[in-house]
């Protein structure tokens, strides 16, 4: 419908310039809607006006008017060129946006089917390295494991402190003595016949009976029952002196290992 603007011809535009275009065209340009004018139409108009000015003769007033008309036509040319360029840009942008919207619409309807499964649903970007990926139960397990390790560390530190301050000598360290208490018979059995064990290992066996057992979780669960826990680790009665030394922390640690109480959230 419209012709591209012809900017390269701007320079040589003079009112005297003779247009050799189509004979019917020049007059027709004046009848067009201003919004549809092209640079070509402006040239046609200047041709028509130049021709009529020439017919008026060489009156100096006509010459003066001619300069002004040329200037006005130049302005019109610039405006038309500028306007057409903008229209062209906008048209291209509109087409791009149209395509984009269409793309999103088809994509959206595909994705929308998954997202709209229900309320409280979340879409996860699988390429995001920080996406949520662990379950609550996994975090709980990790925390419990951490608590257990921390309590064991504390116990070991305590034990080390005992050795350092000379409260226990390595010979009478935990597990080295015979246990009289039948409640801890299994513990002493496990440790008494293995002299090569390190002190720390002995300590672990003494403090955490399940340490040597296969099914550690079962032991853990079992010892978390308060009544059993109380008997197993009640430090105040029949234990050897070395057990006594470890006593203060044991119920505390056992309580920690029993945490948290299992419950649905």
């Amino acid at each position: 419908m419209e012709e591209p603007p012809l900017r390269e011809e701007e320079e040589g535009e003079e009112e005297e310039e003779e247009e050799e275009g189509d004979e019917a065209g020049p007059e027709g340009a004046l009848g067009k809607s201003p919004f549809q004018l092209t640079a070509e139409d402006v040239y046609d108009i200047s041709y028509v006006m130049g021709r009529e000015l020439m017919a008026l003769g060489s009156d100096p007033r006509v010459t003066q008017l001619q300069f002004k008309i040329v200037r006005v036509l130049e302005m019109l040319e610039t405006l038309v060129n500028e306007g057409n360029l903008t229209v062209e840009e906008l048209r291209m942008e509109r087409d791009n946006l149209r395509k984009e919207v269409e793309g999103l619409r088809t994509e959206g309807s595909a994705a929308g089917r998954e997202v709209n499964l229900g309320p409280d649903k979340m879409v996860v970007d699988l390429t995001d390295p920080n996406r949520p990926r662990f379950t609550l139960q996994e975090l709980r397990d990790v925390l419990q494991e951490r608590n257990k390790l921390k309590s064991q560390l504390l116990l070991v530190q305590e034990e080390l402190q005992c050795y350092k301050s000379g409260l226990i000598t390595p010979r009478e360290g935990p597990g080295g003595r015979r246990e009289k208490d039948t409640l801890v018979a299994r513990t002493s059995k496990a440790s008494s016949n293995k002299e090569e064990k390190t002190i720390i290992r002995k300590l672990m066996v003494t403090s955490f009976p399940w340490y040597t057992q296969g099914d550690s979780t079962a032991e853990l669960r079992d010892s978390s029952r308060p009544e059993r826990r109380g008997k197993l680790h009640n430090p105040g009665f029949t234990h050897s002196a070395s057990r006594e030394t470890l006593a203060p922390l044991m119920p505390v640690l056992n309580a920690i290992l029993a945490e948290p109480s299992i419950r649905g959230s």
Binding site: L167, A247, P251
Partner: protein, 265 residues
């Protein structure tokens, strides 16, 4: 057997030895006004007749909004450090602090819970069995004080009614002028009374009141443990008549003896 009860574990550091009953922060909101140990407790401790599992440690749970400084408070007390950088607690953490109270070894098992809402379902599993609930808020942010109601309610829900000591602790005292602090304390004391809690203002950064606060917590918990334990044992004695237990006067009359000297050190 009795003598074997006395030297337990490596020695407790000097500033964890409590011989006289630690004082309240403000008489306007405190759990008790006494300035010495319960008479019966002193007597029991003098006789070193506390050797049962029940009273060797207390569970303390610290709750409150995120960024009020729960972890900082605990770290200041247990490790004597202050980290300027904020690091959110993941789920829960714990520390064990050993004391010697009235000559008896005693431990606090301090549970540090996450303030972030998303961890509530994990942290709340650790509320159960608390002897002490510490609800912390930021003295410079009164919104956090308002939220302590909810935190306390959540913590109490997991425990037997009336079984917990409740403390309300305003943190970051160093950030306020004396006048501003006093103003915040008026509100806090009012809420503490409503909660039947004891009020404390502390600063983990400077360490102000931190040790005094935890000593108070430990002493109150210890005293309650001893009393509950004696009660349990005296009722057992009535049934079984174990010859190993004290045959002295009943608890009620012992209370009237105003022995403040603990005779333990």
């Amino acid at each position: 057997m009795r003598s074997s009860l006395t030297p337990l574990g490596p020695p407790v550091s000097r500033d964890r030895v409590i011989t006289s009953f630690p004082k309240w922060y403000t008489p306007d909101a405190c759990l008790q006004l006494k300035e010495r140990f319960h008479g019966q407790v002193s007597t029991t401790c003098q006789r070193k007749n506390t050797g049962t599992v029940g009273l060797r440690h207390s569970k303390v749970v610290v709750v409150g909004d995120l960024y009020v400084g729960k972890t900082s408070l605990i770290h200041r007390f247990c490790k004597n450090v202050f980290d300027r950088d904020y690091k959110a607690t993941i789920g829960v953490d714990f520390e064990i602090e050993r004391f010697e109270i009235a000559g008896i070894p005693y431990s606090l098992q301090i549970w540090d819970t996450a303030g972030q809402e998303k961890f509530k379902c994990i942290a709340s599993a650790y509320y159960r069995g608390a002897q002490v609930i510490i609800t912390a808020f930021d003295l410079t942010d009164m919104q956090t004080l308002e939220h302590t109601r909810q935190w306390l309610e959540d913590a109490l829900r997991e425990n037997e009614p009336g079984s917990c000591f409740v403390f309300l602790v305003g943190t970051k005292k160093d950030l306020l002028s004396g006048a501003a602090c006093a103003q915040a304390e008026v509100e806090a004391v009012r809420l503490a009374n409503e909660m039947q809690a004891e009020y404390w203002s502390v600063s983990a950064k400077t360490g102000e009141n931190v040790k005094a606060f935890f000593s108070r917590v430990a002493a109150l918990a210890f005293e309650q443990s001893v009393l509950q334990d004696s009660e349990r044992r005296s009722s057992a004695r009535l049934q079984v008549g174990d010859g190993d237990l004290i045959r002295g006067s009943p608890p009620e009359t012992q209370e009237s003896t105003t022995s403040s000297g603990l005779g333990c050190c």
